[in-house]
Every structure is written in C-alpha cells, then in structure tokens.
Symmetry: C2
C-alpha cells in the first residue's frame, strides 16, 4: 500500500484496520456496513437490508464487484459471475435485469488472451439472461496493485410484477422456507480450483442465472414474501440477515435433515471441517412463501436446471425474539451460530 | 499476479499483455476498447462514443471505477472524485444524476479512519450534487492485491430536457467550441501530491460537479450539440474522440492563443515537458454550440464557480476529412497529435 495514501495516523491496533473477514459475508462484514458505511453514505440502506434498491418507475438498481480467485474455476469464471451476480441480486427483489454497466480494473501485465476469454464469457452470460452491457469503464493499475482483473457491474432492471414487494419485512408467521437446489457447490469448486488443500474432486460451481426461476414463480402468481440469493456466507448468513431485519419477532426453524447437499460437497466439507450452511453459492436462493403455495413453488424450482434437489427446509414461527433454530434428527433445537469472518476469502 | 488465474499460454510479447498505457485515455486505450472490449460485449457502445448510455424512460446510466493515487490530493480525494466522476458523465448527455451505486474494493490493512474520511467525503459530494447512494457492495482483497481502496460508482439519471440529444453526431459546421474553465489543474495537483518530481507548488485539482452548469445551459434553452468532460487524456483527447465519431467530415480548429491556462499549471507543464492540452481535468468540459448561442453559453460558464477563465477556443468547419487543427499565434495550422499512452498513470 502506498503510504502517501494515508491521511490518518498509522493505526496501532489491528481492529483499526480492514481485515479479510470484513469481506466475508459474516458478522465482521455486517458490522462494517452497519457501523461504518451505511451511517455515513446511505442510512436508508441499513433499514432496507436488500442487495438491490427500488428506484423510480418500477425500476431497481444493484451493484457488485468481483475479485474471485482463481479467475477461471469449474463451472464458470469471473466474467459469467459478474453478469449473474448482479442480475441475481435484481431477481431477488423481483426485477428482471435490462441494462448493465461494466467496470474493469486491469493489472499491468495481464494477458490480453485471458481478458478476451472473460469478455466472451460476459457476452454469453448477458445473452443467456437477456441483459445488455450498455456502458463501461476501463482502468489499469500497476503490477502488484491488483490481481489480473477486478470487475464491477451495476444493473438496472424492471419489476416483473410492479405491485409485488419482496423484502424481509414481508415474511410472515407460518411461511415455508424453501431452498432452490443443493448448497455449497460454488465454494467447493473454488476450494478445488485453488489446489490449496491438495484436494482433487470433480465439483462444478452452481453459478447460474436465477431470473428464469424467479420469473416463473412470479408469473404463477404465488404468494412470495422474500427471496435471497445465497452468496458469501451461504444459506446460514442469508437466514440470519433476513431474520434480524424483519422486525416482527419471527424465528426460523430449519430441519437439518432436509438440507439438500450433494455427496461430493458433503465429503469435502467434512474433510475440511466446513459447515455447508455457511458455504457460498452463486446459483441458489431461499424463498419465503405462504404454506398454501409451498408445493407449487417447490415444483417450479425442481423443474429448473440445477433445481432437482430443491426442498422445503423449514418454517417461520412467532417468538419473543428473532432467532434461527436448527432442529436435529432427534427433534432438539439449537441456535444457528453467526459466521464471524468467512471460511474462504475471495470466493466472488 | 496469481499464475493460477491464467487460462491462456503465457504471452511471449509485451503487446499481448495489458500495459499502463491501456488505461491512459489515449490511442492505446481506444484501441483496446475498439478492438477488444466493444466488439465482444457491446458493439453499440463503439458507435455511441459516449460515457453514458440512454436507457428507457428518459434515463441514462453511467459507470466509472476510481484507482487514483494518492487517495487524498489538494482539492479532493477518491471519495469526492467517485461521486462527481459519474455524475459528470451523466451531465454530459444532459442528465441529472438521481441514484448511485457504490462498490468498494478494500485492501487488507487499510486504516478504517481513512475509509471513514473517504465515506464522509462521498456523503458531502452526494449532498452537494443532489444524488443518493442507494445500493452498494464491499469486497476485501489481501495485502499486495490492491492499493488501499478502489471505488466504482454507477449512476442513474434523468434527462433534464428529454428531447435534447447531446452527442458527437449532433456537432455542426460552424459550431463554436467552448471550454468551461482553465485546463490541466487535476493532473497538476496529482503530480504535486505524488512528490515524484520533487516539485512544490500550490495547485488544487479542478474537481467539481458539472451538473449545475449543464442544468443552467439546458434551462436557458441554448442550442447545445455536444458536451464532453475533460478527464484522462485531457482536452486534446476529448476533441479527437468527438471529431472521429461525428461521421460528418467535420474538422475542429483550435486557436492556441485562446486556451485558458493558469500560470501555475503552465509553469509546471513547461518544467516537465507536458502538453496542457493532454493533461487531465475533473471539473471542466467542452461544449459544441451554435454560434448564435455562443456568447450566452460563455456567460453562463463564466458565472459558475471555477469558470471565470471559460473561453471560446475554436470552431468547427467542413473538410474532406475529419481533423483537429491547432492554429498558432502566426495563423499557421498544424494537426493536433494523438496521445499514445498517458502522461501520468492513475490520475483518476
């Protein structure tokens, strides 16, 4: 880091500096957002607790930066991720992405051939999901001040049903909690691609566009209350976020027996001591739905590519205090812990 | 750079890699955009040759990433720059920014106190220009994979006058070319802040919101044809871009005697052998206007903060081939060269 960049006195304590865990999707990240970032630039965002903002005329705006390492992994690459990462965030508020901006931060020395592959991947992804890159920006940083390429996309999308509000505050007592497929694949694929733990396994990321599934659910007129994609921090962190921002003293009770998990991801998680509930995904989401529409929601999810393992994993109940409970095979319930840092940095 | 990031064979030649000049706003950057980026992800952008895209319902979308070094410089910092950089791009198509997204890429170890100063600066800037950060994203990269903080903003804005089209293709024979203030201040302030050349001088960046000036020009009903902010590559590169994308065989003739330049910037440029025509600005723009409205345009520009040196610097004339000419004090004309790389990396 360029020391000329600092205006403040050099910090004496580690807690006065940014750490890797501040980017991990867990407690540290949420504290940084809630104590440092939101109060200064966007107090309304803290209340919304959504990755997309509703703006004028039934439009939504969302953004994501991508710093995944490695850039190419089984099941995808940073290009495909940078399109679906943002279009998925828009889908979670019920919006279909129409326009994308593309910001590239390239490191000096990065092979043009790899840039071309990433751009081709962006193009394939934008065509697949029906969105268009309409504006962009390119910066170059010197060697050692980046890591090949970082990408930012921002997306503007239109609400599929302008009167449907999908938000944590819409979750109700009795709602079914449904996950759209088996969990943990993205993080598992990155672990294998990094070769850090010497593990060889054939696991592809779940990276996928969620818009087609969301469109089907909305077009079917189902009584959907809240959707959330399971990225950094996994299903567990998504549930904690929704639980603690619904402001209605609702608790979530997960049935540990119902969590959809592939044999490969389960084995890898056991080997490394990771909890799949907190492993990252890039093509899965959780839906909170009226019990009457639970069966049809599940059927639509299961009919989509990658969705065959979709499952009702829990229910919402009124309590004195919001909690996320995990019910064991024997019926006992214990609190789901909150992820402090992350299990693996730079997964997206 | 993480070698696992590469999928292509390791390049043998430097021209197969990204170089600093690809980010410099000159010929190298335009070749990268036109040969590598636009054809793959956004062929329409190549024709538009604008930094903002018009999207549905009189809205415009723009994005910029900011990697400026140092983060704090006389007259501004990366926070203020990241707000005005994007709102200025929107102003250039005649749009007033309403909503911003904010993507932060933080380096592990970055002092929180400096982050707080930058966020406070973003907040002051958003209030000054009347835009709101409504959504965002935060990533952390390990030490040595960033440089403190990189910021991306994307902005959505509404056209001030929905029927007014500001674009290179609107430029006409006989138009006056007007610059909104003295040039080169931003690059000069960064040079001084970096202390690389051992120069001590009291020069503040021209960093400013252009929206108020543009709103006044549009509200006055002036016959404006094209606006362009003078960032990387400076006034010279902006003129080349507009000249070569208007597709009407129009040439621009600049009067070198009329270029507004402060004594401080002029001295610094002479000392370092820099051409002020290619030095970066962050609060200046060039306007192409009907001669009948030239005087009123100039009067409005001069009435705005920082605009007292605004000047009519040239005219547009029909020729067999589009060229940018510079007329000397003796009346002779020579072609304005095209900037190849940039004079200084990471100025924005």
């Amino acid at each position: 880091m360029n020391q000329d960049n600092f205006n403040c006195p050099i910090p004496h304590h580690d807690d006065e500096r940014i750490s890797i865990a501040h980017g991990g999707g867990g407690l540290m990240m949420h504290r940084l957002l809630e104590k440092t970032i939101f109060p200064r630039v966007s107090p309304e965002q803290a209340h919304a607790s959504q990755d997309s903002a509703l703006i004028a005329d039934s439009l939504a705006l969302s953004t994501d930066s991508f710093v995944v390492s490695p850039l190419f992994f089984p099941g995808g690459d940073i290009g495909r991720l940078s399109v679906f990462g943002t279009t998925n965030d828009l889908a979670m508020v019920g919006a279909e992405a129409n326009y994308l901006s593309l910001g590239l931060i390239l490191e000096e020395g990065f092979p043009k051939c790899d840039l071309e592959r990433i751009l081709a991947s962006i193009d394939a992804a934008q065509k697949e999901v029906g969105v268009k890159v309409v504006t962009g920006d390119t910066k170059v940083v010197p060697r050692g001040k980046g890591d090949g390429v970082y990408i930012n996309t921002a997306g503007v999308g239109r609400l599929i049903n302008p009167v449907l509000r999908l938000a944590p505050g819409q979750v109700c007592d009795g709602d079914h909690i449904i996950v759209s497929g088996d969990i943990g694949r993205h993080e598992a694929s990155i672990i294998v691609a990094r070769k850090e733990f010497g593990i060889e396994a054939d696991i592809a990321s779940d990276l996928a566009a969620l818009t087609p599934t969301v469109r089907k659910l909305i077009d079917a007129g189902l009584d959907l209350h809240c959707l959330r994609d399971l990225t950094r921090g996994g299903l567990g962190s998504a549930l904690h976020e929704i639980c603690h921002s619904n402001r209605k003293n609702l608790s979530f009770v997960l049935d540990s027996e119902k969590l959809p998990l592939s044999q490969e991801v389960n084995s890898l998680a056991e080997l490394l001591g990771f909890d799949p509930l907190f492993m990252a995904n890039e093509g899965r989401f959780v839906a909170f739905v009226s019990p009457a529409d639970s069966e049809q929601t599940l059927a639509i999810m299961q009919s989509m590519p990658g969705g065959n393992a979709a499952a009702v994993i829990g229910t919402v109940r009124q309590e004195e205090r919001s909690q996320v409970w995990v019910k064991s095979a024997y019926g006992s319930e214990k609190k789901l812990p909150i992820l402090n840092g992350d299990q693996l940095p730079r997964i997206c």
